[in-house]
């Protein structure tokens, strides 16, 4: 069995205890809710997207250290990414959770969650905020497209 040290690293618990991006945005472009029906974890995420770039991310929710730390790491690293880069980052995080070899550049602190892949029961905890982000980005794209059609 993999050691607990793989799961509960100092950096992860630092994000859990001092969460980055927790709260709300004034005028979010997209909002999304996700839950994990297996355990009851919930997350609400808000995104400010300007000129095709993620300007700010905020989140609130309930969950374990892995779930909350993962959201904190995501919220810290995502601002500044273009929407395409954000999609790419979510995809690479998902690959990492499934134990695939990835180019770890640009995942920021979230790379510390690599060890979660060794704990299948916890992968969903780590993925919750990233799944929510993916949904938010898709919503943003679809909204942008339909607004575009209107012009």
């Amino acid at each position: 069995m993999p050691g607990l040290e793989d799961l509960y690293q100092e950096l992860i618990l630092d994000h859990y205890r001092n969460r980055r991006g927790e709260g709300h945005l004034d005028d979010p472009t997209v909002e999304v809710d996700q839950n994990n029906p297996l355990c009851g974890d919930v997350i609400h995420m808000e995104f400010k997207i300007e000129d095709g770039k993620v300007a700010d991310v905020a989140h609130t929710g309930e969950g374990c250290s892995i779930s909350r730390a993962s959201a904190s790491m995501l919220a810290e690293g995502l601002p500044g990414c273009t929407v395409e880069e954000a999609f790419d980052r979510v995809e690479r995080f998902r690959q990492m959770m499934h134990g695939e070899e990835i180019d770890d550049e640009d995942l920021g602190d979230a790379i510390a969650l690599q060890g979660v892949a060794k704990f299948p029961a916890r992968i969903k905890c780590a993925l919750l905020s990233w799944t929510a982000t993916n949904e938010a980005l898709l919503t943003y794209q679809s909204d942008a497209r339909s607004n575009g059609d209107g012009h």
Binding site: Y8, Q9, C39, G40, V42, G63, C64, S65, I66, R122
Partner: protein, 410 residues
């Protein structure tokens, strides 16, 4: 001073997974599923090796033997809860037993003016089928709230009860709080307004003597795998008149009397509700599980669990920052104990104590309306059975302290 003669340490030798040469776990998740004694595994193995054939069909000797062993499982269930064998319907699990009543009775008898009262401490299996019935019939589901002490709010129940109440769905014992609900009292009141009473016995029948008539419900659901038996078999016990009056839930082989091009007539109860080849080996295993339990005696099992629950509650209360949910009097509750530990989420705690081989459940326990009432999305739950001992409680407490040290040190 021990009040019971039950020796859990000795019983463990009967359970391959808990025996000295097993994987060495401290198993505290019997509310989710119980471990199985070797006698249950042997009975199922012997069935397949010696008498495997389909039941109620063949005229050859092997098929007759298979039918005898299968129906002996039904007799064991009937004896356990004090009913006639015709009142025992085999299903896939307790959820299917509850769905059977919801579909066969609820969908056909409820309408837009009717209400279904469901306790706020129900497992999803005794809530969601009623939501489905409400969606089809226009009836309304109302929750009976829980007091801060984790008991059913009887005043609120009385206030909700009325001529519009057509169903009362109540757990005998809560899978989260351990609370024993006064089903007989609730049933008497519900019958006073003409409601059908559907009890979930998944957490009571395995742990204490339950007599169907004394319980007072019209229907009672429970499951084999929580009472030392295999997965894949559940039980619906119901009043004979209810079973006779209900239309079938599932159609297929076995449940018919005669089929023509235009329709069919139904088999007698209980087979009217058992479409298709039933869980034969599972019924044999459940029969063996009931023999194991009744050889020890459910009064003994209950006495042991009261003693050990008292020990568990006392030990947990001494842990700084730990809050226990549910009734504090062990005589008023079962052995499922939910708790919260300040600063460590239940998932993290369950993960941390897994390293010591301690198996507990963390999450919403399929009881999200109750979690809402408790104001928490999740709890950690340790649940006891006849094979648990004080050493398991000590191991749990030791491990919780170790988890706290580890988590605080990172």
């Amino acid at each position: 001073m021990a009040l019971t003669t039950l020796d859990p340490e000795a019983l463990r030798a009967d359970f391959p997974l808990l025996a000295d040469d097993g994987p060495g776990v401290v198993y505290l998740d019997s509310a989710a599923t119980s471990q199985k004694p070797a006698s249950v595994l042997a009975a199922m193995d012997a069935y397949y090796r010696e008498t495997n054939a389909n039941v109620h069909r063949g005229v050859y000797g092997l098929a007759v033997d298979a039918t005898d062993r299968f129906e002996a499982g039904r007799d064991a269930v009937a004896g356990l809860v004090g009913v006639d064998r015709e009142q025992v319907v085999f299903t896939k699990n307790a959820s299917e037993a509850l769905n059977l009543v919801a579909w066969a009775w609820g969908v056909r008898n409820l309408g837009p003016d009717d209400e279904i009262l469901v306790t706020a401490m129900e497992h999803h299996s005794n809530i969601v089928p009623w939501h489905i019935v409400a969606g089809i019939t226009g009836a309304t589901v109302r929750l009976i709230p829980v007091t801060p002490g984790g008991e059913l709010d009887l005043d609120a129940f009385t206030g909700l009860l009325g001529p519009q109440t057509k169903v009362l769905a109540a757990a005998h014992v809560s899978n989260v709080l351990g609370t024993i609900n006064p089903v007989a009292e609730l049933a008497a009141a519900a019958h006073g307004v003409g409601a059908l009473v559907v009890a979930d016995g998944a957490q009571s029948v395995p742990h204490m003597p339950v007599d169907f008539a004394e319980l007072g419900a019209d229907a009672l659901a429970f499951t084999g795998h929580k009472m030392l038996g295999p997965t894949g078999i559940g039980v619906l016990v119901a009043r004979r008149e209810l079973l006779e009056s209900m239309e079938p839930f599932l159609g297929g082989g076995e449940m018919i009397s005669q089929v023509t091009a235009d329709g069919a007539t139904w088999n007698d109860i209980p087979w009217k509700f058992e479409a298709g080849t039933p869980p034969i080996a599972e019924a044999v295993g459940l029969g063996a599980a009931i023999r194991y339990l009744t050889d020890i005696g459910l009064t003994e099992v209950r006495a042991h669990e009261i003693e050990l629950t008292a020990t568990l509650l006392d030990a947990l209360r001494e842990i700084p920052g730990l809050t226990v949910y549910g009734p504090t009097d062990p005589a008023r509750r079962g052995g499922a104990v939910s708790f919260a530990l300040d600063g460590i989420h239940p998932h993290d705690l369950a993960q941390l104590i897994d390293r010591d081989g301690v198996c507990v459940r963390a999450g919403h326990h399929c009881a999200q309306p109750l979690m809402e009432e408790l104001g928490t999305p999740a709890t950690t739950r340790a649940s006891l059975y006849l094979y648990n001992s004080e050493s398991d409680v000590e191991a749990l407490v030791r491990s919780i302290h170790r988890a706290r040290e580890f988590f605080d040190d990172v």
